[in-house]
Structure formats: C-alpha cells, structure tokens
C-alpha cells in the first residue's frame, strides 16, 4: 500500500490558484453559515428573534417594563415595554392589534379592534364577538405582520408584542399612529395592562378593569394562603425531551410558580439571550436538583396530542429516568390556553392549575381549559384528585 497522491500534486499551478479562490469563496460562505447557526441557536425562543437596540438602555430589562400611564382622562401618556412614551389626545377609534394577548384583554374590557393578526383558538375572546373578530381585516402573523395591510387599515393606535422585530417596529413607528409594545407574561405586567387599557378605553371599561384586578388579587391571596408551609420544587421544561430548556421566573408559568412560593430550580439563572425566558440546562442538573414535579409546556397543536407525545418521549428516554419525578410520573402538562399565551382574564384559573399540579392533595380539583371553547371558569371537566399513572383525561374536541 503506497502513499496516495495528494491534491496539490494532482493538478497544475493554474488549477491550484483557482482552487485557492474557490476555497476563499466557500470558506466565507461556510463561516457565515456557521456564524448564522451559532447565533440563531439556542438564542431564539418563541418571542425574541433578532436583538433589539432600544433607544434607552440595553440589557435584559430593556423590553419587559409593565405598561404605565399618566393621567386618568385624556390627554393620556402611556409608557410601553421599551420605555417609549405615546401621547393619546383622544380615545383611539381604529386600533390595530398585532398580538392575541392584548386583544383578549381589550375585548374583555369591552373594546373592539379595527384590524388584527390571525389569532389562535387558544386565545380567549368573548363568544359573541367571535364572528366580528373573524371578519376583521387580517394583518398577517404576530411576529411578521403585513405592514402594507397595517398601513391600509389606517389605525390610530397599534398594539404589538415585544417579540416584534426591530425592523418591523421602526416601520410601524413611521405610520401616523401611536405604537404600544407590550410584554404580558408576569402578573405585574398583566395587571398593568388591564389598568392601562381600561383607562384608554374609558367609561365602563375602567370599572371592569378594576373589577378584574380585584378578582385577581383576591384569587391570588386565596391560593397563596392555602399553599402548605413546606415548599416543593419544580422544573418547567419547554418543548421537547431532546432539548432541556427550562423556563425562568420571567415566563408566564415561572411567574405563577414563584407567586405560590414554589421553588423553580432554574430560578435566577441567566437566560440564553437578552429578553429570553429560557435557558438550556444539563440533564445532570435536574438529576442533582431532583424537582418534585416537572411541568411541561409544548408547541404541539392540541393539548391531548401534546400530552401523549411528551409522555412517550419522556418515558421512552432512559436519560430522563434518572429524574425521580419522571419515574414517579409526577409530570404535569401545562395547557396552552393558560401557559403558552398569558391567560388574561383566566389568570386565577391558571394559577389554580399550577397549585393543583404541585399540591394535588391541598388543591383537589381544577378546571380543564381545553373543555369547551375558551371557557376556563365555567363548566369544563374537573381533574381527579390524584393523577392516575400514565393517563390524563383527554380533552373534548
């Protein structure tokens, strides 16, 4: 076996020069592709895509301020999640909604939109307004709105989610409309949104907002008081069994968990990107911490399918069996209606769902949000006091 001819000797000098040029070109392409991949993962969660340089400070707190408002009658000045101030001289007549969560709160307070993005069924909207909402001019996707359709709708107020890209934001801000960017994940942000939207809508909406907030406060207190003295710990796992991304305190579920005094094992960790609410953890970390309950969120369409898939994936992966909660079947699936998007007016039900998941003996029943269209409070099946191994009641279609 001799030594094979190597590449340089097989060709003449012209070809070697050409090869160097091609090498340069492909190297540039691949290096850029490599950089692109490493930037895009694991940075992007569902909400934050490109990095945003706010006009004010840059940092993880830069885009999650709760909405705030100055004044109780017009003219009003609203400060949004980025700290940008918008002055409204009169009640807005044409509101463009680029986010389902704000739309849910807006309609709950009796408001109406002039145009909206496509809204999933998991967002709660008042039944009597469904037909009206479906007839609204459509503005594309929440994170990729159709800017021409938005301009055509001639809004005087645009409400968007903080996950909106920097480019879309600057384009929208050039419209002759006020732009509010809201991030509504924690309770503080939810309460602020109700208060601000109630003030903007004025009239009975302000009273409705106060009622909702009072109900939230009372519900929170009731649940918190009932939580037993010995705190349990949880891990809030996001999406798939192959990607151990844990939700942090600033996520919807994470905020509720800390409200109830439950320990989130990922609490205090640095997120994987500015403004993100997850961080990728080593499975050995979960083995070390051994959370009492594992809460699972997923993107799969229906709750029943998601539950089944997660069950199969977690139980079928031997690596997860090192976690006692998986072996003891202390896995609770978090329904999308409450935890993928902010539950809005169903906040207390969502909080109760977590309480039941972690302390099933203290909180024996909980309403299944996927039973019936958008109704969490009234009707809906109740879960059994203990979770039978390997099965959960499936949702009514």
């Amino acid at each position: 076996m001799g030594c094979a001819v190597d590449f340089d000797r097989a060709k003449g000098p012209e070809v070697t020069r050409l090869r160097s040029v091609c090498l340069l070109g492909v190297a540039a392409t691949v290096a850029l592709a490599g950089c692109g991949q490493s930037e895009s993962s694991p940075a992007a969660s569902g909400t934050s895509t490109t990095s945003t340089a706010s006009t004010s400070d840059v940092g993880s707190g830069a885009k999650d301020r709760p909405l705030s408002i100055e004044g109780t009658t017009y003219p009003l000045t609203v400060t949004d999640a980025f700290g940008e101030k918008v002055t409204l001289n009169e009640r807005p007549k044409r509101v463009a909604m680029l986010t389902g969560t704000s739309m849910s709160i807006w309609y709950d307070l009796g408001g109406a939109a002039a145009a909206s993005v496509a809204v999933t069924d998991n967002i709660k909207l008042p039944e009597q307004t469904r037909a009206q909402i479906n007839a609204l001019p459509k503005l594309g996707q929440s994170f990729q709105p159709d800017l021409e359709a938005l301009a055509a709708a001639q809004p005087d107020l645009v409400i968007a989610d903080s996950g909106l890209s920097q480019e879309a934001r600057s384009t929208i801000q050039r419209l002759d409309a006020g732009v509010l960017i809201a991030r509504i994940h924690t309770y503080e942000q939810l309460e602020a949104a109700y208060r601000v939207y109630g003030t903007i809508l004025g009239g009975p909406a302000t009273a409705t907002a106060d009622q909702r907030i009072a109900a939230f406060t009372q519900g929170r207190k009731q649940l918190k008081d009932k939580v037993p003295g010995t705190p349990r710990s949880v891990a809030i796992v996001y999406v798939t069994a192959k990607n151990v991304a844990l939700k942090l305190d600033q996520s919807i579920a994470g905020d509720m968990v800390s409200t109830l005094g439950i320990r989130n094992i990922a609490s205090g960790r640095t997120p994987d990107a500015a403004g993100s609410e997850t961080t990728p953890m080593d499975l050995e970390f979960l083995a070390k911490e051994q959370p009492d309950v594992i809460l699972v969120t997923s993107m799969i369409g229906s709750n029943a399918a998601a539950r089944e898939t997660m069950d199969k994936q977690l139980k079928g992966n031997p690596a997860w069996s090192a976690i006692n909660a998986v072996r003891d079947n202390k896995i609770v699936f978090l329904p999308q209606q409450y935890f993928l998007y902010n539950p809005g007016s169903d906040y207390v039900q969502a909080l109760g769902y977590i309480a039941h998941a972690v302390y099933p003996d203290t909180f024996p029943t909980v309403a299944d949000p996927s039973a019936g269209a958008g109704s969490g409070a009234s009707g809906g099946a109740t879960m059994p006091a203990t979770m039978p191994p390997g099965s959960m009641p499936s949702a009514r279609p």
Binding site: G2, A4, A43, K242, N243, D272, T279, P280
Partner: protein, 337 residues
C-alpha cells in the same frame, strides 16, 4: 556520488511506519483520555471512586442512573458521531478529489437536516421517524448533487459547486420552516446547531450499526478511493468502474452523515477538520486515513462535548457551537497554508 543517491532515496520521516504508529498512538491516547475525562466530568457530583464502583456494580441509586443513563451514553454517542462524520468527510474528500468536501458543505447534512426539521416542526408527535427522514433527505441531496454535477461524468469542481447550491437550497427550506412556524422553532433550533442534550442509549443504538458498517467497510473502500484520486482515466485504465465506485462511496458517506445528523442534528466542521488534520500530519494511504480519521473525529467530538457541557455548567451549550468556534480559525489556518 553514491552517498548522494542514497540520501535522496531515504524515505522521508513522515512516510515511515514508525511515524504512522506514533500518530495512531497519539490519537488513541486522545480518544481514551477524552472518554475518561468525559465520564469523570459533569454537573452531577461523582467522585472517581463512586464512578468506578458504579461501573462495576450498578445499583439503583440516582448516581448510578446519572452515570449509566445520562453520562456514559452521551460520551459514547459523541465518539460514534465524531467517527461517522470524520469518515464521511474523508470519503467525500477522496471521491470529489477536493479538500473542501464534507457532508455539511456539499449539502448532504442540509438535506438530512431539512427532512428532520420537517418532522420536528410539522409532525413533532412522530419524532422517532427523524432518523429515517434524515436518511431519505441525505440520499435525496446526494442524488441532486450528482444530477446537477453530471456532464459526461463527474468533475470534482462541479460537484463542489453543485453541493454549495444544494446546501443553500435545503438551507432555505429550513429557514422557511422556521419562519412560517416561528412559534414552534425552539426544539428545531437546537437541532440545527447540533446538540447532545438528553441523548441516551436509544441514540447510541441508532448510530452504532452505521459506525460499525463504516469501519468494517473502510479497508475495502480504500482501494477505489486511491484509484479515483489518480484521475478517472487512470482509474478506468486499471479496471475500476468509476461511476459505480463513486456512487457506492458517496452512498456510504451519506449513510454515515445521515445517521449522525439524525441523532445529534447538524453538527458541522468535523468532516472537514479531521481528515485535513490527519492528512496534514501524514501523507499516506486512504485506508489509514479513514481509520485514523475515525479515531481523531471521535476524540474531537468527545472532548468538545465534554467542554461544552462543563464550561458553563449547569448550562448546556450545544456542541455545534463549540465546533463552529474551533472550525472557523481552522479555516483561516488552511487559507494561510
């Protein structure tokens, strides 16, 4: 005069058997050292004494489960993935007669990745089908490359250009999936970087047959590879069926790459760096190149993954990010040669 002739005929040190033996030994040591370091390190505190006793006698404790079900399969998987990708790159570089060929650059990984992403995003309840989908995708990409590059036979330069085009095509497909299903990307993004998180024995069982196949078949592949390197005309003259050989070799390379992509995601640079490094260190035959590349690839990925999961512990950095950090400077070194 006589002395001069003798001096010119003395074999350069690099081609001496002793040098090759040293290189092999170094890589074996690196691999074994990497495996041991990988088993020793991790977020869960395990002392060497505990590790040894648990390996000898597996009890039901959490420590045993961590070692046997989390750490050990992950380290082994890293070695197998590294071996597969390195051998795939070595074969492709020989077949295409181009040192830039690796499953990532020429689109085979992108094809596997695209089909895998389709499952992960559109049909996440069918995740067990990802390996099959990845294989179909890689063979589709390989087939497409051949169709594009064919002109009275395969010219290696056309293959690289076709590969870049196919890679861009499938890359665009992947981006399209992520844009249109932007609410479901989380799991898919980590797949794109290449990650060993939460991998266990099922993944090892998936890839092991392909690694064994590659290593068993490698000595048989080496002769066609060497002949192809001499040029198509020479190879044909010696009696090699050039197109059949090229097809078969590419199929093996695609299989190896697809099996790695299906369990770990799109792990780049391994197939490029490792055969190059081995070739830089020693300028010898293909059989040797393939086997040493397997060793070196295994060592590289094991060490990278151990580093990735311990450097920012307990945060688990996807190993693909570490590979990209290593691979980019490598390109610069290559350019300067």
């Amino acid at each position: 005069m006589a002395r001069q002739v003798t001096a010119e005929h003395r074999t350069p040190f690099r081609r001496r058997p002793i040098y090759r033996a040293i290189v092999v030994t170094v890589f074996v040591v690196l691999l074994v050292g990497g495996l041991l370091a990988g088993i020793r390190s991790g977020t869960y505190p395990l002392s060497p004494a505990q590790i040894v006793s648990t390996l000898l006698d597996r009890d039901g404790s959490v420590a045993a489960r961590v070692l046997w079900d989390i750490r050990l399969p992950r380290v082994l998987l890293a070695a197998l993935v590294g071996a597969n990708l390195a051998v795939s790159g070595a074969i492709l570089q020989g077949v295409m007669r181009n040192p830039l060929a690796d499953p990532g650059i020429i689109g085979i990984s992108a094809g596997a990745g695209f089909f895998g992403i389709v499952i992960l995003v559109l049909y996440p309840q069918h995740q067990p089908f990802v390996p099959l989908a990845a294989f179909v995708g890689s063979m589709a990409a390989a087939g497409l490359i051949y169709v594009l590059a064919w002109r009275d036979g395969i010219q290696p330069m056309r293959v690289i250009l076709a590969g870049v085009a196919v890679s861009a095509l499938f890359g665009a497909g992947i981006s399209a999936m992520l844009v249109f299903y932007s609410d479901r990307v989380q799991g898919a993004l980590v797949f794109l970087a290449g990650s060993m998180s939460a991998r266990s024995w099922p993944e090892v069982a998936t890839i092991l047959p392909y690694t064994m196949l590659g290593l068993l078949v490698a000595p048989a592949l080496s002769r066609p590879l060497e002949l192809l390197l001499l040029g198509d005309d020479v190879a044909r003259a010696v009696g090699l069926r050039v197109e059949a050989a090229r097809l078969g070799l590419t199929a093996v390379a695609a299989l190896l790459a697809a099996s790695a992509v299906s369990v770990v995601g799109l792990l780049g640079f391994v197939g490029l760096i490792v055969p190059h490094t081995v070739r830089l260190l020693t300028r010898c035959g293909q059989r040797y190149l393939i086997l040493v590349s397997a060793l070196a690839g295994a060592a590289l990925v094991v060490i990278s993954d151990t580093f990735a999961r311990t450097v920012a512990s307990p945060v688990d950095i996807p190993v693909g990010i570490v590979m990209a950090a290593v691979g980019a400077p490598f390109f610069l070194v290559l350019l300067r040669r």
